[in-house]
């Protein structure tokens, strides 16, 4: 049987070649065979991953299971979402084409835009969450990262991008106001702001934990600042526009900074200068965040972004190659006892809901909706390209998260818990840590203090005990994978600090960009209040910029300091708040999307955004409820708060891990702040969701409501539908190329 593909060129102007090609027809037999084979490999891989008990599996099976699922989901599920909800029309001009100014609005090649979008959504989050979640075993994390992405995260990113494209690239906050009304919009805006603050604070905490007491790491990261300044000056004054040239120089300097960090850490002055306590680092970071948010973009932010983009792509390829070549064995159990009992030392709580909270980025990350609205839609060439970019880039991020999970589950499990349990539990020394982890009942032979010391020595660190936050563990696992492929143990220390460096680089990029965005949100909101505050709306008013920057930095800096000094271990108490915040943002985004789908009367397909929305609300609300109301002090912020208050009232001077009255006061204060934040987040999102339901009911009663979609404008440019152009699209492209050549010959501007 010959496949009958019908092609129909679409024209918007008789004088122009077609602007799009409609192609319909059955899938060719060869493709059917291909996808069947991929599906079968995926099924086999999933059975190995899910059914192996009591024997070690190879990490490559996890990679296969994930990649095959992505391919099938992309080919079939994302197409269903496209056909039933998005319904892209490539004869309709996108905001990039319509408002093209060759700056923030400009039709950008789909492959390049994919890179931009991916670099903007993927940072340290997908690297950190899975590492922490590894305490529950490899299986729950793998399933959630892959399935959560395919049905939740990627759908959210794709749909937010698609609705923003039809609204001139408006931001999530603006779309919430347009679709949900003023009240819902304000709640969404406040939610975005507070969520941003907590996200910056927790990411900063990850950096602090990775760099504290590590002169090598501190030196390398500190050097990124002069390197970025040099690049900025080079691009501004010496050779404007030569970005790849300066990036190559920058990356070379960066590698030099990593290597020389090892030398500096050997010297007495290096140890003196660059061994910083967590508290000192937190202050430095706050100062940095402030400086970066008021300095001009060209000097620090833009060059650092180039470095970070370059490193991101490079490191991810390196890690993928490393895992496939090294094929490490998984050391963690499929499901650990902590998952069911909920008493894990890395973070407290049972599998549901806390696994789904801990892994946000990589599975379902609300923060992406801020990039999928606002930035990327202004660069999209054709509506249909939202699928490879929105859905496709999220699949890639999910893959990064899977690799991060692998690095955590292939290291010795005793070592994993020695690194990730808070200092209050491990006691901070190799001896006490060995004793502690050997008492956890893990599988495999017990660990000795000497082995823990040697592990630190191999990666060139003073100690690996209680290096919480995920980044050191990821770096450790990565160094294990990469040094087995490239360079042997001799390079293990280099790879470790290489990994620390790029994680810190990603996080600093998020911290300074986030501080800036939050600063603008604050000044906009203050300006909108009116009266004398109206002046805040003027972005060139430096005093206003400084005031707002200070407020933003003080807000996240205070949470950071609180986490750094928390006797209970900052990551342990704050990371759940980070995950909850991020996924509550996803709830806001999915509410907006679902409302739009209901308003357009696509009732049959409303489950596509509604299923992830309901799941997300169930997870975040259960987690918030437990964090607020649980009587178990390890889980509930207020239960912990009361336990310490009672102890203090009873006149005790030490309680639990708090060894002094000051530490007890710190716990009482911190739990109150964390508990209050949990309440604020949950209430704001409940308001948004409730308003969403009201709007949906109103819309159903009215038989559909108008949305804020912009009217149609015919497109006058051509670009392929997806990533790879079809034969018919190549022909059309040839027509456009010929026309362009003709125009250049007859003279431009005619």
């Amino acid at each position: 049987m010959v496949a009958r593909t019908q092609t129909e060129p679409i024209r918007t102007d008789p004088d122009l070649p077609p602007v799009a090609v409609l192609e319909q027809g059955p899938m060719p037999a060869s493709r059917r065979v291909l996808f069947t084979v991929i599906a079968l490999i995926g099924a086999v891989a999933w059975s190995v991953v899910a059914l192996a008990r009591g024997e070690q599996i190879n990490a490559v099976w996890i990679v296969f299971a994930a990649v095959c699922t992505y391919v099938i989901a992309y080919r079939f599920y994302s197409r269903l979402v496209e056909a039933k909800i998005v319904r892209p029309r490539n004869d309709r001009a996108t905001p990039a084409e319509l408002h093209d100014n060759a700056k923030d609005f400009m039709p950008t090649d789909r492959r390049v835009l994919f890179g931009h979008h991916f670099a903007a959504i993927a940072g340290a989050g997908p690297l950190v969450g899975p590492v922490l979640a590894a305490q529950m075993g490899y299986l729950p994390g793998t399933i959630w990262i892959v399935v959560g992405c395919v049905l939740g995260g990627a759908v959210q990113d794709y749909l937010v991008l698609s609705i923003s494209v039809r609204r001139r690239g408006r931001s999530l906050g603006q779309m919430a106001r347009d679709e949900l009304g003023r009240f819902g919009g304000v709640a969404a805006l406040v939610a975005v702001f507070v969520i941003m603050i907590i996200i910056i604070a927790v990411l900063a905490l990850v950096v602090v934990n990775a760099l504290a007491e590590s002169p090598w790491g501190v030196f390398s990261i500190a050097m990124t600042i002069p390197i970025a300044l040099f690049m900025g000056v080079y691009l501004r004054f010496l050779r404007p526009g030569r970005v790849s040239e300066v990036t190559v120089i920058g990356v070379a300097l960066l590698l030099l900074a990593i290597v020389s960090g090892g030398w500096v850490a050997e010297t007495a002055w290096g140890q003196d200068w660059f061994t910083l306590s967590p508290v000192a680092l937190a202050w430095w970071l706050a100062a940095y965040g402030f400086a970066a948010s008021v300095l001009p973009v060209w000097l620090l932010l833009a060059p650092r972004d180039y470095l970070s983009t370059f490193m991101k792509v490079g490191v991810i390829i390196l890690l993928a190659v490393g895992i496939v070549v090294a094929r490490p064995e998984v050391q963690a159990p499929a499901v650990s006892s902590f998952a069911l009992r909920g008493d894990g030392p890395v973070f407290a709580g049972t599998l549901f809901p806390f696994l789904f909270i801990t892994i946000a980025c990589g599975a379902l990350s609300g923060f992406h909706s801020l990039i999928a609205s606002g930035t990327t839609p202004k660069l999209l060439e054709k509506e249909s390209q939202a699928r490879p970019i929105g859905y496709g880039a999220m699949l890639t991020e999910s893959f990064v998260a899977v690799m991060a999970l692998i690095t955590a589950v292939i290291i010795d499990q005793h070592l994993y818990f020695a690194m990730n349990a808070p200092a209050g539990a491990t006691g901070g020394t190799p001896e006490t840590a060995a004793e502690y982890v050997n008492g956890l009942g893990l599988s495999g032979p017990p660990i000795t203090a000497g082995e823990i010391e040697r592990a630190a020595e191999v990666v060139g660190e003073e100690s690996v005990v209680s290096r919480t936050g995920g980044a050191p563990t990821l770096a450790f696992g990565m160094s294990q994978v990469l040094s087995s492929v490239f360079g042997g143990t001799g390079l293990a220390a280099f790879w470790y600090h290489f990994a620390i460096m790029f994680e810190a680089l990603f996080i600093l990029t998020t911290v300074d960009a986030g501080t800036r965005v939050a600063r603008f949100m604050l000044s906009d909101s203050l300006g909108n209040i009116g009266g004398p505050l109206r002046r805040f709306r003027d972005p060139s008013w430096r005093v206003g910029a400084w005031i707002c920057s200070i407020v933003v930095v003080v807000l996240w800096g205070a949470i950071l300091l609180m986490g750094v000094t928390d006797p209970l271990g900052g990551i342990n108490t704050l990371f759940p708040l980070f995950g909850i915040a991020n996924q509550l943002l996803a709830a806001v985004a999915l509410t907006v999307v679902t409302v739009v789908v209901v308003k357009k009367k696509l009732y049959r397909w409303v489950w596509i955004p509604a299923v992830p929305l309901v799941w997300d609300l169930a997870v975040t609300m259960t987690a918030s409820f437990q964090k607020i109301f649980s009587s178990e002090p390890r889980i509930g912020y207020w239960a912990q708060h009361r336990a310490f208050q009672d102890a203090k009232a009873a006149g005790e001077e030490t309680f639990g891990v708090a060894t002094s009255p000051e530490a007890m006061d710190a716990v009482i204060r911190n739990t109150a702040i964390q508990g209050t934040l949990s309440i604020i987040f949950a209430v704001l999102v409940l308001i948004v969701a409730a308003v969403g339901v009201v709007v949906m009911v109103r819309s159903v009663r009215a038989g559909g409501l108008p949305t804020s979609e912009e009217p149609d404008e015919p497109s006058r440019i051509f670009a392929p539908r997806g990533m790879i152009p079809t034969a018919a699209e190549r022909e059309v492209q040839a027509l456009w190329d010929a026309r362009e050549r003709e125009r250049t010959v007859t003279g431009a501007g005619t």
Partner: protein, 69 residues
């Protein structure tokens, strides 16, 4: 013949990688801007590349974009 074909494939890949990195880092943006000015406002001076990047960065200063976690 095979060696030549391999070499050809290699240079093509190299060129593609070069094009992609340059495009990703925004190296083609100024040329695009010049073409844009010529098309939309013919006869106007598009200005120097340094001036273009100054304007781009000033724009980013005023409208920051978020980076995710």
């Amino acid at each position: 013949m095979n060696a030549r074909r391999a070499l050809h494939a290699l240079t093509r890949t190299g060129r593609a990688v070069r094009w992609y990195t340059a495009a990703l880092l925004g190296e083609h943006d100024y040329a695009r801007y010049v073409a844009h000015v010529a098309r939309v406002h013919p006869g106007t001076d598009p200005g120097s590349e340094a001036a273009y990047w100054r304007a781009r960065h000033a724009d980013q200063d005023a409208h920051p974009g978020a980076r995710c976690c």
